[in-house]
């Protein structure tokens, strides 16, 4: 899973999540490992 975070003109956060097929089978939340146990 890829995540692209942007900020809209009015300051609100907007995040695009994409799911390339070649990533099938990888750990989808690896990028958030540090936050995994909030």
């Amino acid at each position: 899973m890829n995540k692209q975070e942007t900020v809209k003109d009015d300051g609100r956060i907007l995040i695009y999540y994409t799911f390339p097929t070649e990533e099938s089978g990888s750990d989808p939340i690896a990028e958030n490992e540090e936050d995994a146990h909030v």
């Binding site: 899973m1 995540k3 809209k8 609100r12 956060i13 907007l14 995040i15 695009y16 999540y17 994409t18 799911f19 750990d27 989808p28 939340i29 958030n32 936050d35 995994a36 146990h37 909030v38």
Partner: protein, 328 residues
């Protein structure tokens, strides 16, 4: 105007959000704010010509990262606080006329990954105590945008219903050294009459204590499954699969896309309960239909006294849902 007002009699916060009166109400298809922005077309909330899943902060939020100062002064009896928090919109697909039930299991699994990411990201804030993921579906529920989407509210407090669940579960754990949700699930599985469908990691039931005729709870099996972050890849896959099964059964119930409220119940993200195993991840569905053409309204007993009256038996409704395609 937006603020938290304390209700000292019920001991709960009430959120005021007067700006929400102006939110978009069933726009025509060419002005769908959740659609991709097409070249030369109406600029929607998503400035891209296509997307998989997109999340953005609500334009009309009940809670805000930097809320305005309260419009009124509180008192010792009725304190007032800024409505700090986050309200996000999760758009499931660029396809405006789709529903979650119609998405393939792979896409539902992707949505679970996104939910997991948002739970972790929002729950990491010290201002946030509870991350609530939900979907309101259908005009009957009060939805104002038909495009398939859900919402996430990150509250600065644990909401009352969740607080009650946490307290009950903690008390049961202290008395029995056992997870309350799993004790209930064990009873449901032993009885069997209220089980709708199940797989290796999740069980869907019309619970013994259902308050709506077609209320369904999907509960994670096994200890230590307190929130989305606790799931393995296989569990995420099974959650997507049972969601798909349940949603298709709902749509096959009366031959139309069934309205519902879908709520993900997870442990709070702050405090002692954030590290404690007495809580159990589950999803609750409340469809408003009690028959094909009759709705259940929350009237005097429910709204005024908090005492629900279910006109049906959970055992009968579970059997009805179990018999529908897709079956196990």
């Amino acid at each position: 105007m937006s603020e938290l007002r304390w209700h000292p009699i019920l001991e709960e916060w009430v959120i005021t959000a007067t700006h929400r009166q102006d939110r978009t109400f069933f726009p025509p298809p060419d002005y769908n704010p959740l659609a991709p922005t097409k070249p030369g077309g109406f600029p929607t909330e998503v400035p891209a010509s296509d997307y998989d899943i997109v999340v953005f902060e609500n334009k009309f939020p009940s809670l805000q990262r930097n809320p305005p100062a309260p419009a009124v002064q509180g008192t010792e009896l009725t304190p007032v606080k800024p409505a700090v928090g986050v309200c996000e919109v999760v758009v499931y697909t660029p396809q405006a006329d789709a529903t979650l039930a119609e998405l393939p299991v792979d896409k539902i699994e992707h949505l679970i990954w996104v939910w997991t990411d948002r739970f972790a990201a929002l729950g990491a804030s010290p201002d946030i105590e509870y991350v609530f993921i939900f979907e309101n579906k259908g005009r009957e529920i009060g939805v104002t945008l038909a495009h398939p989407h859900g919402q996430i509210y990150a509250y600065p407090f644990v909401p009352p219903k969740l607080q009650t669940e946490v307290h009950s579960a903690k008390r049961y754990w202290n008395q029995h050294n056992k997870n309350l949700f799993l004790a209930v699930l064990e009873q449901e599985l032993a009885d069997g009459r209220r089980v709708v469908t199940q797989n290796d990691h999740f069980v869907a039931t019309v619970p013994f204590f259902a308050r709506y005729p077609y209320e369904v709870h999907i509960t994670a099996r096994g200890e230590g499954k307190t929130c989305l972050s606790d799931f393995t890849r296989a569990e995420q896959r099974d959650l997507a699969a049972i969601l798909k099964t349940m949603l298709v059964k709902y749509d096959n119930l009366f031959g139309f896309s069934l309205p519902y409220i879908m709520c993900l119940h997870q442990r709070p993200t702050i405090g002692e309960s954030a590290d404690h195993p007495y809580y159990q991840f589950h999803i609750e569905f409340y469809p408003p239909n009690r028959t094909q053409d009759k709705l259940k309204y929350l009237a005097g007993s429910e709204a005024g006294a908090g005492a629900y009256i279910n006109d049906t038996l959970a055992e009968d409704k579970a059997a009805e849902l179990r018999a529908l395609e897709p079956r196990e």
